[in-house]
Every structure is written in structure tokens, then in C-alpha cells.
């Protein structure tokens, strides 16, 4: 067990999978000279020079390039730098990769991973770069059957789930959190893979209320849970880690027990994946009286600079939401 920065965990996962399977290759902007736009692949190009491709700034074109290579039998990892740029290649992702298995009636798959930095930096002390660099986009792909969506937070989870995503035979949108490339965490020394199924992690057991925190909200929820303990509230904290396929069972079992659910996410509240979680839970627990609350960013674009902080849920927001539900 060693402490590792999140960006090193990404590089390690990619290098291990490239060593394991020579069909795996990496493409994106600035791969060779800086290990990708956010330096998440440092060292990889030196190890696998023939399988690391610098691409011109043409996200639509090179994402399609990846889809074509996947159809031809390779296993591309497409780096898209910021998830905000997924708009530019969403035809390749949503109409391209997601439809291959169905439109070939199972005769051809599309094993491809789209890696993107999701969300803002403001949460972590630096200044964010605004509305084209700091959006949380997991929900933009939630209604595209054929895709899987992975959104872990901690370096160890990022590593294990990225390896599983690379081995998966379907297109996977892999989101790491932009604000946390410099966050470090304990990562096991030995090789491991975290399956995409049943991936939710119960970070804290508790009987009073269920908190589901997505990606950057996880460490904030961890703090909130500690604070709540002092007020005598035992919250169960779940990090789903994978959104599609969602580990519904763990979340539903928890809410069945607690009867209360707070979902917290960095994405704007309206239309976010939190709604999908709430909806799934209440649907499955019809008959039980459940109180719910979604926390998320304001329904507004995110500005450059420190104003990012204004939008995003904070520890006290979680504490207050939990207390509100627990009082009822």
C-alpha cells in the first residue's frame, strides 16, 4: 500500500492494461509531450511509443477514429481532456459507440473508454476555468442506452475501475474529477480490478438516513457524516462509484432501512443523475413513506475564478439537509 496521486493512479491503470493486452492504445491531445492535457498518462508514452497517438485538436474526428479502431478489433482509450468538450464528440459517443452492438445485432462490439476530467477545480482551492472547463456532465449521457458511466473519486477506486473499464467490451464514459488530479490516496500495491457491477461502496454504516454522494461530493459528505455524528445522527454514506450500471440494491436496501435519502452531487440540481437515483429508489420502495432531498449546484453556468465555490454544495448544506429530513 502506497500513497498515490490520482493522476498517477490513472497512468498506472493505463500502463498495466497496455502491458496486459496489446490491443489497448491511447489517443488524445498532448499525449506524447505531457502525458495528456492534464498529465494523467505521464510515463505511458515512453513505455508504449507505438500505442500512444497525439491527435490534432479535433475531438469529433479523433473520437470517431477511436470508434472505428474499436470496431476493427482494438481497444482504444480516448482522452478528451475536459468533460465539457464531450459536446464536440457526442455524436461519436452517443450515435457512434453506443449503437455498434445493437446495429450489428451483437456481431461486433465497441470496446472503448472515453476518459474525461469532470467538474470544477474551485472546490479544491485553485481557481476554476469557468463554464467551458468545469462542468459536471455525467447526466448528459444518462439517457443513452449502450453506454456505461463510471464516476469514482478516490485514487484507488479510479485505478481499479479504470482497469475494469478498459477490459469491458462496451463503451464506457470514465469520469475522474478535475479538481482532484492532485489528490492522493492509498492504493494497493498488488494488481486489482474493481468490477463495474455492484460497485457501490458503503463508506459509513448508519441507520438514521442514507446519503448518496457522487464523485467530488464524497469527501465532503464524509466530513458531514462526522459532523452529524456529533449531533447524534448516524448516517449511512454510499459512494456509488459507477452510475451505469447503478448498484441499485445497496442503495435501495439502505433507504429501506433508513426511510430517508439525501443525494448530493456537484452537477446542477435540475435534470441531474441524482433525480435518477431518487426516482429509482422511491419506485422500488412504493408503499414505504420515504423522505428525499437532492443537493446539487445551482441551475446556472459556472463562472471562472473563485465564484465556483458559490455554486457547489458544501458540508453545511449536507448537514442541514440531513437534519431537516431527520426532524420530520
Amino acid at each position: 500500500m502506497a500513497k498515490m496521486y490520482l493522476n498517477r493512479a490513472i497512468a498506472a491503470a493505463v500502463a498495466e492494461e497496455m502491458a496486459r493486452d496489446e490491443r489497448v492504445f491511447l489517443l488524445g491531445e498532448d499525449i506524447i509531450n505531457c502525458g495528456g492535457g492534464l498529465s494523467t498518462y505521464l510515463g505511458v508514452p515512453e513505455k508504449f511509443p507505438d500505442r500512444c497517438l497525439d491527435m490534432p485538436i479535433a475531438e469529433a474526428g479523433y473520437t470517431y477514429f477511436g470508434v472505428g479502431a474499436a470496431v476493427a478489433g482494438l481497444r482504444p482509450i480516448v482522452d478528451l481532456m475536459f468533460s465539457d468538450f464531450a459536446t464536440i464528440c457526442s455524436d461519436a459517443i452517443s450515435n457512434g459507440s453506443a449503437k455498434v452492438a445493437f446495429s450489428t445485432q451483437g456481431k461486433c462490439g465497441c470496446p472503448i473508454v472515453f476518459v474525461m476530467a469532470n467538474g470544477g477545480r474551485g472546490t479544491y482551492g485553485n481557481f476554476g476555468s469557468g463554464c467551458h472547463h468545469s462542468q459536471c456532465v455525467e447526466s448528459w449521457f444518462q439517457n443513452v442506452p449502450g453506454l456505461k458511466v463510471v464516476a469514482p473519486y478516490y485514487p484507488a477506486d479510479v485505478k481499479g475501475l479504470l482497469k475494469a473499464s478498459i477490459r469491458d467490451d462496451d463503451p464506457v464514459i470514465f469520469l475522474f474529477h478535475e479538481g482532484s488530479t492532485g489528490v492522493s490516496g492509498i492504493v494497493p500495491d498488488e494488481e486489482y480490478v474493481i468490477p463495474l457491477t455492484n460497485a457501490a461502496n458503503i463508506l459509513q454504516e448508519g441507520d438514521d438516513i442514507t446519503i448518496v454522494a457522487i464523485q467530488s461530493m464524497v469527501p465532503i459528505a464524509v466530513k458531514a457524516v462526522e459532523t452529524l455524528k456529533k449531533s447524534g445522527i448516524n448516517a449511512e454514506l454510499i459512494d456509488p462509484r459507477v452510475l451505469i450500471p447503478l448498484d441499485e440494491k445497496k442503495i435501495i436496501d439502505s433507504v429501506r432501512k433508513t426511510g430517508k435519502l439525501v443525494v448530493v452531487q456537484e452537477a446542477p440540481r435540475r435534470g441531474s443523475f441524482g433525480g435518477e437515483i431518487v426516482s429509482t429508489v422511491v419506485e422500488k420502495l412504493n408503499g414505504q413513506n420515504i423522505s428525499v432531498k437532492r443537493l446539487g449546484s445551482l441551475n446556472a453556468p459556472i463562472g471562472n475564478g473563485m465564484v465556483e465555490y458559490f455554486l457547489v454544495p458544501k458540508e453545511e448544506d449536507i448537514v442541514n439537509a440531513v437534519k431537516e429530513l431527520c426532524q420530520k
Binding site: 490534432p56 470517431y64 477514429f65 472505428g68 479502431a69 457512434g96 461486433c108 469491458d168 451505469i244
Partner: protein, 331 residues
């Protein structure tokens, strides 16, 4: 280049068969067998034939919505017709139509196409690069129309394809129309292949009514592609039919040109005359071939018409949505 007698007659067969197929499918629309827009290749058949004839069986083609004569050179035509009719015996149980028709696992080597125009161009740059990377001695040919070439991804594909030197040919079927919009309202320069030149990509422009010229251009293109030189062949055609069969075509202001082309620039007639002049065929040969082709296609149409529609369990199998259905969540 000289072609063998067999080669020349094979092309003739495919050309005639393609023309008859085209006519029969228009009829199938009128008869209610085809219930999705059918984009007829009428008058443009030679393009399909020249491309496929110039390739090895191990090479790949990616069809567009107007090259059915190419597709039936590679696919079982019965399966293809069933696909058009939306029937269960279709290549993809009738769920693919020709927009989504591929043969990835069989011998047809039809790449997965896309119905969002233009996108196959960068996609098959990647596909071709993967062929090269896997040291397969195969090339890929992509068909797209003049209209599709307005998509920015084509330019991105030229750039990436020339940087990474891929074994791919883009065949631009420039038939002067995109749906109801004439070429001169799509761009100011009608030579669309010019757009590949700034990327040092070799281009050729060929007359789509001249099968032999097309074949020669394709032979050149294939040599380049086998040397990993991505290149473009622009075929000048004229769309004889409406955008889709039975579309009201009152917007066409070039009926005189079409009538003239039907007389003087018919790829079938021109090639037929060439073969007649070379004494490779005679009128009897022609008549018999046309009769046989028509009869064969009629028979396939009858079988396809009688075939049943797909069932839920045929097409919505979990492994058709996710290759690894266990990680795809509930349907």
C-alpha cells in the same frame, strides 16, 4: 491497364444486376414492401461496381445510402432485400435497413455504417489505422455523397488520415444534389475533393458514367491505399431519381440535363456499347443476362415478401445492447 475478358464480363454482370436491382427496389417501394425512404442508385450504379471490382475480397467497404449495387456484390442479396423489407431473414433481422447494414463477422466485409452523415469518414480512418496496426494487409473504402462532405468531421479525417498514413479510400459520390438542395447552394466550388488537397491527400476526379475510367481510377487509388496513402476519388454523377423514391421532385430544375444524361451518359449503355464494340458480348447475351437477373431478383422479392417480421426476442436480446450484458444494467 488491361482487364481480362472475365473481369470485363463480371463487371458487366454486376452493372446490369445493379441496374435491375435498383429498378426492382423502386418498384418494391411502390408495392409497399419497403416502408422507409429508399435512396435509389439509378444512374450511379457504375460507381458501386468499379469500387468493389477493384478490391480484394478481404478489403472492406462501408456503404452509404445510395450504393446498394455495391452492397449486393458483398452480401447475400436475399438477406439484403429482407433487410430492406424489415423482415426476419434480413442480415440483421430487418432492424438495420440499409442505413445500418454491416457484415463484420461474415465474408461480406461491410463495415458498420452510420446514418449521421460524414461520420464514417473519421471512423474509418481509425478503422484503417487499426488494420495497419494489426498488420492486416487490408484496406477500407468509404462511400459518401457531396452533401455529406460538408460535415466538419471529414476535414478532421483528412488531417488525421494524412498524419497517420492510413490504408483508406474515400469515394465521394458527387451527384450534384443533397436531398432537395443543389450543389451550388452547398458550396462555391463544385470540385469537392479539392478540400483534401491542403492535407497533401491525393485526389482524382472521374466521370461516373464511364465504368472503365472509374475502375482505372480505383485501381490507382487501391495501389496508393495499400501503401498507406489515404486518398480520395470524386465521382461526378447526376442524381436521376428524387432523393428518395416517390419524393415529389417538382423542385428539380435540371430535368433537361437528366433527360440528356439518360440518353448520353447512361453508365450501362456506355459500357454495353464498349463491350459490343470489343465483340465480348452480343445482343442475345445482353437479353439473356437481363432476363436472368430480373427473374432472380423477382424470386428473391417474392421470398422476402413472404418472410415474417422479426420478433421481440430476435432483436432485443441483451447482448445486442451491451456486448457484456451483465454490466449494462436492466433493459
Amino acid at each position: 491497364m488491361e482487364y481480362s475478358k472475365q473481369d470485363l464480363l463480371d463487371m458487366y454482370y454486376h452493372l446490369v444486376n445493379g441496374r435491375i436491382f435498383t429498378g426492382k427496389m423502386s418498384q418494391a417501394v411502390n408495392d409497399g414492401h419497403i416502408r422507409i425512404s429508399y435512396h435509389s442508385a439509378y444512374g450511379e450504379e457504375a460507381t458501386s461496381i468499379a469500387v468493389v471490382s477493384a478490391l480484394r475480397k478481404t478489403d472492406w467497404i462501408v456503404q452509404s445510402h445510395r450504393v446498394q449495387p455495391a452492397s449486393i456484390m458483398r452480401l447475400d442479396p436475399y438477406k439484403f432485400i429482407c433487410e430492406l423489407f424489415g423482415k426476419r431473414d434480413g442480415q440483421h433481422f430487418g432492424t438495420g435497413y440499409d442505413f445500418h447494414l454491416s457484415d463484420m463477422a461474415g465474408d461480406g466485409r461491410l463495415g458498420v455504417p452510420m446514418a449521421t452523415l460524414g461520420s464514417v469518414v473519421p471512423m474509418y480512418v481509425g478503422f484503417a489505422w487499426a488494420l495497419k496496426q494489426q498488420k492486416k494487409d487490408e484496406i477500407a473504402v468509404v462511400f459518401q455523397g457531396d452533401g455529406a462532405l460538408s460535415e466538419g468531421v471529414c476535414y478532421e479525417a483528412f488531417n488525421i488520415g494524412s498524419l497517420y498514413k492510413v490504408p483508406m479510400i474515400l469515394v465521394i459520390n458527387n451527384n450534384n444534389w443533397a436531398m432537395t438542395t443543389p450543389l451550388n447552394r452547398q458550396c462555391v466550388n463544385p470540385d469537392i475533393s479539392d478540400r483534401a488537397k491542403p492535407f497533401n491527400i491525393p485526389t482524382q476526379i472521374v466521370d461516373g458514367s464511364d465504368l472503365l475510367a472509374l475502375r482505372q481510377a480505383m485501381d490507382k487509388a487501391v495501389v496508393l491505399a495499400r501503401n498507406n496513402e489515404m486518398n480520395v476519388v470524386e465521382v461526378k454523377n447526376l442524381r436521376w431519381d428524387a432523393h428518395y423514391v416517390r419524393q415529389n421532385s417538382s423542385y428539380r430544375d435540371d430535368m433537361d440535363e437528366i433527360r440528356d444524361a439518360m440518353v448520353n451518359k447512361d453508365c450501362v449503355k456506355i459500357y454495353e456499347n464498349y463491350l459490343l464494340k470489343k465483340n465480348l458480348i452480343d445482343q442475345e447475351y445482353i437479353d439473356k443476362l437481363k432476363k436472368d437477373c430480373a427473374a432472380h431478383i423477382d424470386e428473391l422479392i417474392q421470398r422476402a415478401a413472404a418472410c415474417e417480421y422479426p420478433r421481440f426476442e430476435d432483436v432485443y436480446r441483451k447482448e445486442c445492447i451491451y456486448t457484456m450484458p451483465e454490466t449494462g444494467g436492466d433493459l
